[in-house]
């Protein structure tokens, strides 16, 4: 009987915690590092913000390809998804690439990889923040 009462009381609390964790994960995706900052994990927040930001700046500076939603094939779509992983930094990348992409040189190709890595790294960080908010990681 006592177990049932405790279980029914814990269910809304778990649901609320799950909702907060989801919001933290989404916040971490939209602004790199925000998910950790909301949990006062300042070192991880700063590291995520700086590394993702630097990768985006370097990637666009090396004239990497910032993929758009109007891609021609599956690789373009995958590239767009990876770039979108940087959240608002995707818009920064779009505004920084004033000269357009140039993947005819190795550095442009490297820049494309830098941008995709920034997105995937930010998604990994957002997932880490989400798990930490659920109490599964620290």
């Amino acid at each position: 009987m006592a177990d049932e009462t405790a279980a029914s009381a814990a269910a809304p609390q778990d649901s609320r915690r799950e909702g907060i964790a989801l919001a933290v994960g989404v916040a971490g995706w939209i602004v790199p590092g925000l998910g950790h900052a909301l949990q006062k994990m300042w070192g991880r927040a700063a590291a995520t913000f700086l590394t993702v930001g630097l990768l985006v700046i370097l990637g666009t500076g090396m004239r990497g390809n910032v993929f758009s939603s109007s891609g021609n094939d599956a690789f373009d779509a995958l590239g767009f998804l990876a770039d979108l992983g940087t959240g608002t930094f995707y818009l920064v990348a779009r505004s920084l690439e004033s000269n357009g992409a140039d993947v005819s040189h190795a550095r442009g190709d490297y820049g494309t990889r830098f941008l995709a890595t920034a997105g995937v790294l930010n998604l990994l960080s957002a997932l880490h923040a989400y798990e930490a908010a659920r109490g599964r990681k620290a």
Partner: protein
């Protein structure tokens, strides 16, 4: 490196920058104590460079 029409990094500079940034992010995300983070960053950086240069040399016989 030049800051004119964009960053002109050599292959090695690109590899180094990439490895340093990713190692720092991995170190901070996967370890909590500063000393553990530092160890992880150094070890991860070493492996990135070792494997990157190793793959470069492994491709050398097929480059021409």
């Amino acid at each position: 490196m030049s800051w004119g029409m964009g960053f002109k990094l050599s292959h090695l500079q690109s590899l180094l920058l990439f490895a340093v940034l990713i190692s720092i992010a991995f170190g901070f995300l996967s370890r909590r104590r500063p000393i553990d983070r530092l160890k992880y960053i150094v070890w991860s950086l070493f492996l990135f460079l070792l494997i990157g240069v190793g793959i470069g040399w492994a491709m050398y016989p097929f480059s021409r």
